[in-house]
Symmetry: D2
Subunit: 431 residues, 4 copies
């Protein structure tokens, strides 16, 4: 019945262009990152290459002084109100080829290809009464002039009650299927404000998109952004999407990382096959060039360990934000620790055991055997000795912990496991 859960059986791993390129990524850059992934990351499970926002705007990124997105820009569209890649940025897309040649190349590397879209239909199409494919309806008849994003000027929401609305969504996903798209990140669709305040329901747009994917007959992972997603709608997200952001855009500062524990706390009972609450991209390595300020991540190595430990035990999708071609060896090692990555696809039932302003403890079990995982986090500003009574996590016998970050077996423990953890750091044990 719910086909979507059959083709994303474990959380997707990959790379996304946003953290480094913002709105500016081009074909050569995408290819270079894909090639790096094929060579260095694919064997560890990473396989999605995702082109993020504004790929249809030829001028994207040219006026960062005034705005991130260009107001009232005239981006590339076909006659059916459908956005096409900007040809100056994606030369292979010329002559109506769209993203097909790029997708083909990425597939040839054994990887999968993803794109970002904004919910809705281009505003320009509505104002100039453009066509909807396969209908005699025009864009102005399905666009909702009151349904506008709070942060991007391009689109109007589509009113599901109007004839032609589903046909529009079908038409764009048919195009993506023709291109060979494997993953679609739909934006401006799952955050709290939109859901709660807005009478022009994002819910219905999610359902139309889900239906359009089924109609396209191609497996495409459906990823919803931005967050925070609304927990009241957990059931709806679980029914129609594969992953949904549980935070606003996540960047490399400690307060945001610490805050993620609150978000994972709320969503801990909502991770299941095909359904992944999403902690957002991993802002490590080199970032921010497209924003006009290339920089190395602000996260310390201990904070990066905390990030990877939480994402992996919680089983968030893992989308690397770094420019891959510039990855240093320490970051590469962090991202490719197979003992840690193992949890993403082989653990389940993660719960928060304890949590306060200074520490957190998470616990999960392996799906294959009796082993279980214990993550200890030091959220305070000083190094800290954390203790956890094994009885409190249901373990009544002696256990031999293995430190998955250090690849070390520790001496057997009875009753209480004790760990000395640096400030902002974490330990992850297999028991």
């Amino acid at each position: 019945m719910i086909l979507k859960n059959t083709f994303a059986k474990t959380p997707p791993l990959g790379w996304n262009s946003y953290d480094y390129y913002d709105t500016t990524v081009n074909e050569a850059e995408v290819k270079a990152n894909a090639e790096y992934m094929a060579k260095h990351l694919k064997s560890h499970g990473y396989n999605y290459v995702v082109v993020d926002i504004q790929w249809s705007d030829p001028d994207a990124g040219t006026d960062r002084t005034n705005y991130q997105y260009i107001n009232f820009s005239h981006f590339n569209m076909d006659e059916y109100s459908r956005q096409l890649p900007a040809e100056n940025r994606f030369p292979s897309s010329k002559n109506g080829a769209g993203f097909r040649p790029l997708a083909d190349y990425i597939h040839s590397l054994g990887l999968k290809f993803g794109i970002h879209i904004m919910r809705g239909i281009p505003r320009y199409a509505a104002h100039t009464h453009m066509k909807i494919k396969g209908t005699d309806i025009t864009a102005d008849k399905i666009a909702n002039p009151y349904s506008v994003s709070k942060w991007n000027p391009d689109m109007y929401g589509v009113d599901y009650q109007k004839p032609g609305a589903q046909e529009y969504y079908n038409s764009i996903f048919e195009l993506y299927a023709q291109w060979g798209v494997d993953f679609v990140k739909v934006d401006d669709i799952c955050n709290t404000n939109f859901y709660i305040d807005n009478p022009y329901s994002a819910e219905k747009e999610i359902e139309m998109i889900h239906k359009a994917i089924l109609n396209s007959e191609r497996d495409m992972v459906l990823s919803l952004s931005p967050g925070p997603a609304v927990i009241e709608k957990a059931w709806h997200l679980e029914k129609y999407a594969n992953m949904w952001r549980i935070t606003d855009d996540f960047w490399d500062n400690w307060d945001s990382l610490k805050d993620m524990f609150k978000r994972c706390e709320i969503w801990q009972n909502h991770v299941s096959t095909g359904c992944y609450p999403d902690c957002d991209m991993i802002p490590v390595g080199w970032l921010g060039k497209g924003f006009g300020q290339e920089r190395y991540t602000n996260f310390t190595i201990d904070e990066q360990i905390t990030l990877m430990t939480l994402w992996c035990i919680f089983r968030s999708p893992l989308m690397i934000g770094a420019e891959l071609t510039k990855l240093d060896s320490q970051t590469l090692e962090l991202l490719t620790n197979d003992e840690v990555l193992h949890l993403i696809s082989n653990s389940h039932g993660a719960i928060q055991v304890e949590s306060d302003n200074k520490h957190a403890i998470w616990f999960s079990r392996d799906i294959n055997d009796n082993s279980c995982y214990l993550a200890l986090f030091n959220l305070s500003e000083e190094s800290q000795i954390l203790e956890i009574s094994l009885k409190d996590i249901g373990i009544n016998s002696k256990v031999s912990p293995r430190d998955l970050w250090k690849h070390e077996n520790l001496p057997p423990v009875e009753d209480v496991l004790i760990a000395n953890i640096p400030s902002h750091g974490a330990s992850l044990y297999k028991l």
Copy 2:
């Protein structure tokens, strides 16, 4: 310094096309109402004739089944992003004449001419990069794609920080001055939600409009809609506007009328020369044709007396909503009781003396002599005897009340004034 207060020394009285015609009024209809006003109402103080919303849309009102306003309509504009009257509806506006011929006609009747506009610049102008008069800036550079009305699809707010923003407003008010406009009702600009939630400040648009009026060098009354206006911004409204709506759209139902007492309560200390909190149009007589359902007002005659009594003692502007050419004699009499209308221009300092769910008492003084006014309202569902101790309103001597609705002198009263008032009715006395 504050010139605006010099040309609206008392609350404006007149007629507005909205309650009867909605978006559909045409030139012949405006003229017919103006002619009626000149003949029957002018001598009682009414003199503004105001053309309300959508006068630039040739198709307005043609698709009421789907919406009040036509989404993405292509209405009449000049090359400078300025809306012009739809020529099919206002034939005299052809050949670039605009509203000038109609204004001239209305002036010839000894009346004043007003128009409605929406805050902002047409969305279509922004998307097609139209010009701003007197600059080399285009509409897309000053329009704010996030500043959209919650109920009308036509405009984007103008970002006051952008070069060309003030010039745009100057250009439209120069046009209105050329036309001979005396009164501008600016919409989507003073309600609570817009002020409080929206970072794209309506405040600044009010200031730009005020400045544009000064720049035009023509006296134009500035009326702001819709309400409820925000009391925290009372000082700002008093500084820049002549009148501002203190309610959402007001219609002919008792609950709304009863609710107006709460609104007048809040605003009672904010009525002064040139500054008029506005209770909205008076929905009496025949209404609603443009909405597709012509009907006679739902207000009983007692409720109409309550309405007129409150509006007059509070000193709200009085804008008749009825189709004037269909006014029956009873309604005409109600609207032209000179003893009652006298308060609009000759009383001051109205305060609420008492108020609860069942009654209200208001009191004010005449600006010319020692007389004062007392209004008693029965807000309950049954007839009621109301009493007011004269001492409580600062009167320590015997007084002779005159009933201003009945044109009768009552016997002298000492200590306590007593009145038997029908359900939903009111009495108004001069003391």
Copy 3:
């Protein structure tokens, strides 16, 4: 680890005194209802007898004209700030016996005994500096003067940070264990407002109560009221409680029943062993005597079928609100349909398949075999034919539905199941 889930393996079924008696129930009345349950309901799975609010107040219900709860009442307490049954209402509680004799009697009938308490410590104890058992601390040191219920005047919340706080909760649950209490309904502890607005965290009081139950070493079901519980805290409720109200007090009107579909929608993925979102008592039969207006339920029989169908497929606890000794045969039949009640303990994974303002469809599976359940609800004001494609619920073969309310086998169905359902009614099928 989580012992609470071991002694409430299926949703509790029973009777609660509130809907009929409000604050006034006495010992004889409790016994009479228990005796009825033992005779007529026990064999169908009902076994909890719960004494609801104000059992320690000798004067409860004597001044209904002024309030439901008596302000600043001097109810029965021991020297340790612990409430005791009012002896005039529960004669067997004299001489320090407390609820032990009544619990013994109920146990002798093969039933279980439950009581209601308010979160916190009696205000009177705080103001008069009474003792906390087993400590040298007084009530004023642990009571929080700012943590007061919005609807009951008796208690102050307990500040978990204060020495003596846990000891107080331990002391009251030790007393309940001595009495033989099997079920505790804790009130003023799980509704939205309290959790979100209040800095004096109900969360911590829930944790103290959970700990006090463990400390008492007696299995006591923990039920939290009132609702609506906060979905953000689902994980916390699942960790520490057995059942929690997902609505405000539920009564016999259609709008509230219809609204329950929205609440079950939100909570559908949160029903598991030992964890039961609670739709509140079942207001059927005779109700309201303690409120001063005895009446027969306002629910039609179709609405009652809708109620029972939703509660059973969703797996809410079932607590009868009616006075049992007055149950008519139709209501008794409704409450004891074993084919329907079977779902409470033998189905799982209920999800909402469809839902709008006019209908809802729910689906679940049996835990014992391949059979599954389908509930169709007509929420509209007219009778309605509902259709459900079997493929949409993952059934691809011919099925033979059994109507669980009518106890009838229907002809085999392929592809689409069709049912004609009366307004406000429901059908429940086993497939």
Copy 4:
């Protein structure tokens, strides 16, 4: 009619014990401050000596580690639920004398005496069913158990609908009249939260208190705290009170002082005879001893000039927070600049002319002659040259400014007044 406006014709000036003593002030300390005032401040207009919160609690201030106010404290009361001064702190109050001897002493110095009270009736009186003077009603019958302060644990609000409610307030103000009280600061009664969220209307308590003052037949200034007062209720405050706080507690940090400009902006049109929006005490000189940390004000001298300039042109009441006996000469000079203080009683109609994040300009007129006042504030972090066009404030002729802080006449100015103002500083000119 509105007698309250006859005995507070200009904003009150004086001293309040809170900023230095918090809850701990005693008789000797009050007298010492009064003596200083009589000697050094009285001739400049200061004459109110106000004893702030917790004067009836003998233990106030003894347990600052745990709380500011002692939970469930047993403070001094008479048999009629009325608080009396703690005799250990106010020895002259013994034998039922109350505050009479202290008031007499202060009156003997040519000064006036004020006290603080909390809205409502002592919680202890309600729980122990104490009497209400002149009635056979007990405190539990008029106290509202749900109406509790968010920050002080002593009182319950009084329910105006209950017999005995007005009698209670009458009884306490009769007592204050007997004592010779001239000023009552009523707390927990005018802030936003209380007014808006709370169904137990503070409005009605204000009206009861106003009525009790009239009933007492003694002129007592009515001051309401804390803020921020609600602008929607401006009309109500103006009708029943003399002064009301427009901010939460104000302390000596720049952000709060800068924020005051926003508050004065909102309230600028609400200052009139007998009606004074109140910017709160002036935290200069030595502060904080009662809070456990005696300290010299954090305000720089420029910030203090900004404070005094704003308070004086806005015409806030001026209540000194400093310990007077420790006043240094610079602070004394600041507080006693007669040219500046002159505005408090002799200017009117102050309005904000300009305001943004970096500066503010205020303007008012003298009530005696044609002179006017101009205050320029530098709110930025750097010194700044501010300019104001005289035409913009309605002055079309040459003027000769006098600098009221420097006591200097400046050269005549035409068109534009220019001032160089230090960061966080202000200039005040008489024109």
